[in-house]
Symmetry: C2
Subunit: 336 residues, 2 copies
């Protein structure tokens, strides 16, 4: 997490004297540096797949922070310029994220299949019929998912390489390089003290988050085993995904105004919602695999079990989010 940790030094009293423009420019400068450095690492990684993965991950981390900053503190930037870069960073992050997501989804589903078919230790006499039925289906389901997700990953990898070689990407990199030298901020940003302008905008981001959380069925999600997430209708996931984005904006806004002093509960809330997203996507992959023509009923059965298992992970992640968000009382949430 380069951004937060690396800048968690200078901090308080010094920041008080700086203008909003200085603080923003400093933060964007560091993120821009991380972005360009990881881009170079990615190019130099050659056949080192792990190195390339790591570099891509850091590139996306920097891109996310730049996007979040341009979004939250938009009124202090050249808005047309910021909006343009935001859109392009969205395209880039989306393209680069896909390969990693396919690999992570595959790992998650294989681990779940493993868990579902491993007998408990010290268990008394078994029902061999029932077990071998699931095991046979699970092995085939695993092979099917492996094939489908490996193919998807290969495609995502090609798309990412193509994107990184495109003129569209070079334009994005040029724009990010601008942030390293002279971030296009407003005159107002150069005039107003950081402590006056920035916390207010960060607070707005947090307010949008708190409002979105209010719309979630949190009290229901707080009852374990409510079985909500397994309903056929996965449109219910959307507001949770929305909150995940808002948590991220709020977290990075805190990082700008108080580096190294982020609320750990905001990070925990973000992790719960990332798990929510991952499980929802894994469930969808299991469900999609079950629609492959001509699969055996045992394979389809195992995919059904797997789908339900991941939807329960979705429910568990909502429960975990509620536990992170609610303990300080009704109104609140982290720094509420």
């Amino acid at each position: 997490m380069g951004g937060a940790a690396a800048s968690g030094d200078s901090g308080g009293p010094e920041a008080d004297a700086r203008t909003a423009g200085e603080v923003l420019a400093g933060y964007l400068h560091r993120q821009s540096g991380d972005f360009l450095r990881s881009l170079r690492l990615h190019r130099e990684s050659g056949s080192d797949a792990q190195g390339a993965d790591e570099a891509a991950w850091q590139l996306r981390a920097a891109a996310r922070r730049i996007s979040a900053t341009l979004h939250t503190f938009r009124s202090l930037t050249d808005e047309a310029w910021a909006d343009q870069l935001l859109a392009e960073l969205g395209w880039l992050s989306g393209t680069l994220a896909r390969e990693h997501a396919c690999a992570a989804r595959r790992s998650r589903l294989m681990a779940a299949l493993q868990r579902l078919t491993t007998p408990a230790a010290n268990a008394p006499a078994a029902d061999p019929d029932a077990e071998s039925a699931l095991s046979a289906g699970a092995a085939r389901a695993g092979a099917l998912l492996d094939r489908q997700l490996t193919l998807a990953r290969t495609r995502a990898h090609s798309a990412a390489l193509q994107a990184l070689g495109s003129s569209r990407f070079h334009a994005v990199a040029d724009s990010v390089a601008v942030l390293a030298s002279e971030a296009p901020l407003t005159h107002a940003a150069a005039d107003v003290p950081a402590v006056e302008a920035l916390p207010q905008l960060a607070e707005q981001a947090h307010r949008r988050l708190a409002e979105a959380v209010t719309a979630l069925p949190l009290s229901r999600a707080g009852h374990p085993y409510n079985a909500d997430a397994l309903a056929a209708d996965h449109r219910q996931d959307t507001p949770w995904h929305q909150v995940r984005m808002l948590v991220r904006l709020s977290r990075y806004a805190q990082e700008v105004i108080a580096p190294g002093h982020g609320d750990p509960r905001l990070a925990d809330a973000g992790h719960a919602l990332e798990r929510h997203r991952d499980a929802a996507e894994a469930a969808a992959a299991a469900s999609a695999a079950a629609r492959t023509p001509r699969i055996a009923p045992a394979t389809a059965y195992a995919l059904g079990v797997l789908h339900a298992d991941q939807r329960h992970e979705v429910e568990a992640a909502r429960f975990a989010f509620g536990r992170v968000w609610l303990p300080r009382g009704k109104g609140g949430g982290p720094h509420g």
Copy 2:
């Protein structure tokens, strides 16, 4: 121990004066009366299916209480006679329970399928592919389960009718009728005061229950979404089923020594474990249906989802049991 604590009942001073034999004979007399009355009702119910169901339910309830009493207070009865009746009541209850269980399992699975395929209210745009896939499979899975469980129910119904007309059953009814007039108790039972002999035996029953609970993975079950119950290996259910029986013995023992003062938490614990058993059996039925030859993959998929859903109900029931059992602290459980 609740039995002891609760025995300060309305009948207190009066009960204090009675012998163990009087209390036991009185309880068995009432249960025997219930048994014979519900048997008559069942015979007279004719084509009134609901009436027959209710009568069978009452017959089983009385049989359960007689069994539990003979079991817990066995040392105060003619043991050979009690053991013989216990075995026969076990046969009868098992035979009569099957029809009801098939009907309840069918209802439970149909309700689950309904829940799994009903879209949430006020949801945004859907993924029609994913939904229609599950819906189509769910409809077929429902039809398959309906067929299989209705057939099983019909068979159980015939078996129950046959049992009720058998000479074996008439012998059981004769033995139960004996309890109404002169329960075969020991001389010791006629000599010892109820307050001396009965709470001690009830306490033994509760101790056996408490020991069996100690062997359950309760602290793990107390963590919501531990995903234990979905493992391929359902042998893990056995100790929970065992505890369900022991809860019942403890509950009926309390009923004998302090009628109307049962610990409500013991009843709640029993309900949680009944739900545990019902869900486990429903999951097994879904899994068995998936092994029907020549079913469509979509049907198998829906059965897999259903199986996992019911196994999560199993996990939820364990969690509920833990919540009932543990709140008073480490050692305890109800009246611990």
